[in-house]
């Protein structure tokens, strides 16, 4: 047998060895936990046959605690490039079968390499996290490795889309990488994220809590807003990542891929003409509006379980990807608060960074009052959303459906924040405040002198409503560009986006702004 053939056989053998990761037993244990291995996950995510692995034969160089005897080819992470729906992406998947996926200096180098390649090629970077944390045996080198990864997350932020999938543990400093990426997805029941685990929590604060309730998917999807998506199976998770990618471009110089549209732009839904209730205090479901106007009713919601009083997500109009921000009257009457403000702000900034037009559907009575909000800096969080809208230079189309009062009117993409086209439904009420609040301020003194103060105030409310609770006051000053029949909303948005396709707008030269954080 020639030497060359022998060497090729050696290569094949090493590849087989590398593909086993931590070994057959470790793979079996991973499966028993209901989890796939790193390579299986990559195969599920990428187009068949597209994956080109890098650094398959890389080994760690640690000699502390006898680590030189524990070597696994690839050392705990699988990295490389491939395609999703024909689009180049870079991926890394931590391999829990190798030392519990613990991060070594070598692993960090591998991850940094794919991140560098992703930025060079202008392609999204997807990280699949399943790691026990830093490899303690490596000491400060593991920490340095994390630092290198975080710096690359920061430098790549706003340049290429970065998506993190949490498919297992992600604890301690490791959580910062997903937190720095654009979108995070967590697996229900098998993943968790926290800075300090239940044991340390118990020791320090005396609080008795388990992993799921401290940092599980449900906690981060509903309470903290750390995760944007959750999935119950890994197959579902991969499909969600693919769907997300279909709405966003590969880098900040491109636009999102356009999908062929078989939904007529002139499709009118008479239901919209009747969706606003007669009683201004009655709620309706904004999801019905969204599904009625977007292409084929397809709406990919982001953070659906967090701050439900605001709805954010991706959709298409005439095949073009847009970001939708909408108040939800069916939840807390659609008020803005700390959580909804920061939810909206981050999404608006992502859309702006990646050339995705923003369509805002407004029905907001104001900000949620109370010490609960004020002590949690609702002022700053509201300012975040205001800043995000004002800073965004992508096409911005705002449609006011019903209420748009006070500061929340300004915050939700008003004309003065350089929104390009502002439309209103005939039911829109654009005013400083609602009738009862306004009349209480304006006519309280006069009402005291009346024979029947209640009747007097009711009459004043009626007068105020007729004068201010309509879109024509705002239209009079040019703050609204047009008032549209609700059933025509889809067509008007499609045309608006066509008009705004060549929009050019930039910001004054600066190192960067100082968004209230």
């Amino acid at each position: 047998m020639s030497k060359q053939i022998e060497k090729i056989k050696e290569l094949i053998a090493k590849r087989e060895q590398a593909r086993l990761g931590g070994g057959e037993k470790a793979i079996q244990k991973q499966h028993e936990r209901g989890k796939y291995t790193a390579r299986e996950r990559i195969d599920m995510l990428l187009d068949e046959g597209s994956f080109e692995e890098m650094d398959m034969f890389k080994l760690h160089r640690c000699t502390n605690f006898g680590m030189e005897k524990k070597q696994y080819l690839g050392d705990g992470v699988v990295t490389g490039s491939g395609t999703i729906d024909g689009r180049l992406v870079y991926v890394f998947a931590q391999d829990f079968t190798v030392n519990g996926g613990s991060l070594s200096e070598t692993m960090a180098q591998k991850i940094c390499k794919v991140m560098d390649e992703a930025v060079k090629m202008g392609a999204p970077c997807i990280g699949i996290n399943d790691s026990g944390g830093a490899r303690i045996q490596e000491g400060i080198c593991a920490l340095a490795g994390f630092g290198e990864i975080f710096e690359r997350n920061i430098l790549a932020s706003g340049v290429i889309p970065q998506i993190s999938g949490i498919f297992g543990p992600c604890a301690g400093g490791a959580v910062y990488s997903p937190a720095l990426t654009d979108f995070t997805l967590m697996m229900e029941n098998t993943s968790y994220m926290f800075l300090t685990g239940p044991k340390v929590v118990k020791t320090v604060t005396g609080e008795d809590i388990d992993q799921e309730n401290l940092g599980g998917a449900s906690v981060h999807a509903t309470k903290s807003g750390v995760t944007h998506f959750t999935a119950s199976t890994e197959e579902e998770a991969m499909q969600m990542i693919k769907t997300l990618l279909s709405y966003i471009p590969s880098n900040n110089m491109e636009e999102a891929p356009r999908k062929e549209c078989n939904d007529p732009i002139a499709r009118m839904d008479d239901y919209l003409n009747e969706i606003i209730p007669e009683d201004p205090n009655k709620a309706y479901d904004m999801y019905n509006v969204i599904s009625s106007i977007v292409d084929n009713g397809d709406f990919f919601e982001v953070q659906p379980k967090f701050a439900k009083n605001i709805i954010i997500g991706f959709a298409r109009f005439n095949g073009q990807s847009v970001g939708i921000v909408a108040n939800q009257p069916a939840c807390y009457a659609g008020v803005l608060d700390c959580n909804s403000s920061r939810k909206g702000a981050r999404f608006v900034r992502f859309c702006d960074a990646f050339n995705i037009p923003i369509v805002s559907l407004v029905d907001v009575p104001g900000f949620l009052p109370g010490t609960g909000q004020e002590y949690n800096a609702v002022i700053l969080h509201g300012a975040k959303l205001l800043y995000a809208y004002g800073e965004a230079t992508v096409p911005k189309v705002t449609i006011t459906l019903r209420k748009s009062y006070g500061g929340s009117h300004i915050v939700m993409g008003c004309k003065q924040l350089r929104a390009d086209l502002n439309y209103a439904w005939p039911s829109a009420e654009i005013a400083v405040m609602g009738a009862s609040g306004a009349v209480a301020v304006l006519s309280a003194r006069e009402a005291k002198t009346q024979e029947n103060p209640k009747e007097f105030l009711a009459q004043k409310e009626e007068e105020y409503t007729e004068m201010f609770a309509n879109p024509y006051q705002a239209a009079k000053y040019g703050y609204i560009d047009d008032i549209i029949e609700p059933r025509n909303t889809r067509f008007r948005i499609c045309r608006a986006l066509a008009q705004l396709a060549t929009k050019k707008q930039s910001l004054p030269a600066k190192k960067h702004g100082n968004i209230p954080l």
Binding site: N252, M253, E254, I265, A266, N318, N355, T393, I484, E485, R487, N488, F491, R492, C494, R495, A498, Q499, A501, T502, K503, K504, Q505, S506, L507, A509, K510, K511, H512
Partner: protein
């Protein structure tokens, strides 16, 4: 007695609805005549925030 098709009832109801003036609509052209163009006018590199 012949069974009247329910669609006939729907059509009658719709006609009455319109007769009563409930079918008032703000007419739109429903066509987009703007042709997409390839242009450097708003090329993304130009819209990056410039360093001071």
């Amino acid at each position: 007695m012949s069974k009247v098709n329910n669609e006939v009832y729907a059509a009658i109801a719709m006609a009455l609805h319109e007769y009563k003036g409930n079918n008032v609509h703000d007419k739109e052209s429903n066509i987009i005549t703007i042709k997409p163009v390839q242009t450097q006018w708003n090329s993304h590199i130009q819209m990056m925030t410039k360093r001071p």
